[in-house]
Amino acid sequence: MAVFVQTKQKTPRGIWALRGVTVAITLILLVVVGTVAYSAYEDYSAVRAELAGGSQQAVGAAVLRGSTETVSINITVPNKGLYPLNVTLACNYPTSNVVCQRASVNVPPGEEGVLRFRMTVSDVSQFESSDNRVVNGTVSISMSPFVGLTVGTDFGGFIKSGGG
C-alpha cells in the first residue's frame, strides 16, 4: 500500500467542494430539525393553553332530543408554529347506534382554525345500558410534511346520560 509523502500539499479544490456540500447538508439538517422542534413546542403549548385556559371556543355540549343524543365539540386550534397543522378527529369503528361526523381542520402557520366534531347516538339509553360502550376514535395531528401523531382512544366518554 503506497503512502504518499507530501510536503505542504495544498488542499485540492475538489475537497473544498466536498466540504461545501457537507456544510450545506448540515445546515439543511439543523434548519429542518430546529424548525420542526420549535413548531412542535409552540403548537403543543398553544393547544394546551387553549384547552386548559377555559377558552370559550373549546367547548363541548350534548343535546338530547327524544332518545337521540348529539355531542358537539368545538375546538379552536391555533397554529403558532412554522408548518401547516392538520388536526382530524374521527371514529374508527362506529357502533350500530353511534355515528361520528369526521372533523378535520387545516391551519396555516400563524392562524387559527375551529374543529367541529359531532357524534350522534341514536338510542342513548341502549348505549348506556350496553356492556360495550367503547367508541374507538382517533385524533390525528400532523405537522406537514414532516411529523404526524395519531392517538387512538375511546370517545365513549363524551357521551353523557341525559345530555348536558
Binding site: 503512502v3 439543511i28 429542518v32 430539525v33 404526524g148 395519531t150 387512538g152
Partner: protein
C-alpha cells in the same frame, strides 16, 4: 488527510482512542442506561435492546480499523461502512420513522418518515464523500508528483 505521512505510533494512538470512545458510547453508556432504567421503572419494558450492543461492536471494529488505516485506501470502505451502518442503525432504531406505543387503552403512533430521510442524509453523504475525497486527493497527489514521491 491522504497527502501526509502518518507514523505507526500515531495510528495506534488513534485506534486506541477510537476504541475507548466507541466502547464508552456503544457499550458502557447503554449498559448503565439499561441498569438505570430497570432500577427506576422495574415493571416497564424500558430496556436497552440487544441490537444496540450488536451494532456497537460493528461500529467499534470499523471505527478502530478506519483510525488505524487512516490515510490509506483500505480506510475508505471502512469509513463508508461506518456511515452506511449509521443509516441502518437510525432506520432500525426508529422503526423506519414510525413509532408506536399502547398503554391503558390508548394507542399513540408517531410518524416522521420524511424527517428521518433528512436525519440520515449526512450519513449517506459521508458514505459517498469518503471515496470521492480519496480519489480527489489521489488525483491531486499524482498530478503534483514532481513535488512528491511515494514512500517505500
Amino acid at each position: 488527510m491522504y497527502g501526509r505521512t502518518i507514523t505507526t505510533r500515531k495510528r495506534i494512538t488513534s485506534a486506541v482512542w477510537a476504541l475507548v470512545v466507541n466502547a464508552i458510547f456503544w457499550i458502557v453508556i447503554p449498559y448503565y442506561l439499561g441498569v438505570f432504567l430497570s432500577g427506576r421503572v422495574p415493571d416497564s419494558a424500558l430496556t436497552v435492546p440487544t441490537f444496540v450492543y450488536e451494532f456497537g461492536i460493528l461500529f467499534i471494529i470499523l471505527e478502530v480499523g478506519a483510525a488505524f488505516f487512516q490515510g490509506k485506501a483500505i480506510a475508505v470502505p471502512m469509513i463508508s461502512a461506518v456511515a452506511l451502518l449509521t443509516v441502518v442503525y437510525i432506520w432500525y432504531a426508529t422503526n423506519g420513522g414510525i413509532l408506536g406505543v399502547e398503554t391503558s387503552g390508548i394507542t399513540i403512533a408517531l410518524s416522521f418518515r420524511l424527517l428521518l430521510y433528512v436525519l440520515v442524509l449526512p450519513s449517506i453523504w459521508a458514505a459517498i464523500r469518503a471515496p470521492l475525497a480519496y480519489m480527489v486527493w489521489r488525483h491531486a497527489i499524482s498530478s503534483g508528483a514532481s513535488s512528491s514521491s511515494p514512500a517505500p
